[in-house]
């Protein structure tokens, strides 16, 4: 996943959803996590050497899960002042 592309990634979330998420609303938090899935995938990409000895990239599902959980726990503590 190209990180330069990810800098322009737009999660397209309403201010209301963000506000509800910071307030601890589970549905809103899930919506935020879903909106950031492409960014999570980009951050979970690791390099490895395949069977042919070539270096390639893949999305590590363990990292994806870990990042989702971290985000869910972090959102209610955000200081965005929403």
């Amino acid at each position: 996943m190209n990180n330069n592309l990810m800098n322009n990634f737009d999660p397209n979330l309403s201010l209301y959803t963000m506000s509800q998420a910071v307030s601890g609303d589970q549905a809103a938090i899930e919506e935020v996590v879903k909106a950031y899935e492409p960014y999570i995938a980009a951050q979970s990409t690791v390099k490895y050497i395949n069977g042919n000895g070539e270096t390639t990239e893949r999305v590590d599902e363990d990292i994806v899960q870990s990042l989702r959980l971290t985000l869910i726990e972090a959102i209610p503590n955000f200081e965005a002042g929403l």
Binding site: M18, V32, V46, I63, T70, A74
Partner: protein, 234 residues
Amino acid sequence: MFDAELIQQLKQTNISIDGEKTKERVKELWNTTSKEEKQTIESLAGVARATVYRIYSTGSISAKLAVAIAQTLNVNPYFLTGEADEQEECTDELLEDLLKKHGYEKKLAADRRKNRRKAPTSSTPENKADELQKTADELAEQFDREVRETLKTAAEEYKREHPAPVAPSPVVPEPDMEPDISEDTLISDITRAFLDSLTEDDMILLLRSIQLRAKSGLPGTAELSEKLKLLLLS
């Protein structure tokens, strides 16, 4: 144009220089003025209808009525006082000039200061909407920044704590490389003991395994299979 607050602070003294012209012009204008405009003039000047009627009975006009009539009916205030003979239009410059001429310079300056102070709080709905949009954008940006920082930091920590295992590069024989089956290699080291322990069944299994790997297309195994068959036939 001035608001009622300023106009009502103006004095009642006569500023007409030609009573006859004032009397005649105000009467003519008033007779063609609509009911709403008359009410506007009265509320701007803070006077009763009788005060207006006095103008065209006496020919004297105060600054407050001259300004109220001029800006409501859009006529040159000097036309009302008899100093100009063209009705023309009412402008801010003409009104200010008239008031300065009659000693209201300080009141004008105070009015300007007051309007400047009011300006930021009396923002238009469009300005308020812009300000709200700006605030919303800033909050959304901060939220986005926090999400990205959280994810990036967590990903870095995870990768640091769980370094990716270095996959061993499989030994892939070069397609044109002959398998090293020299006697020295076969006999050397622990190979001899291992080979000695192989049963006939083990050998058959190994051969089948090589054939399967060759069929699946693993590089180098087809050639190896052929070599082994040749060896067994020789």
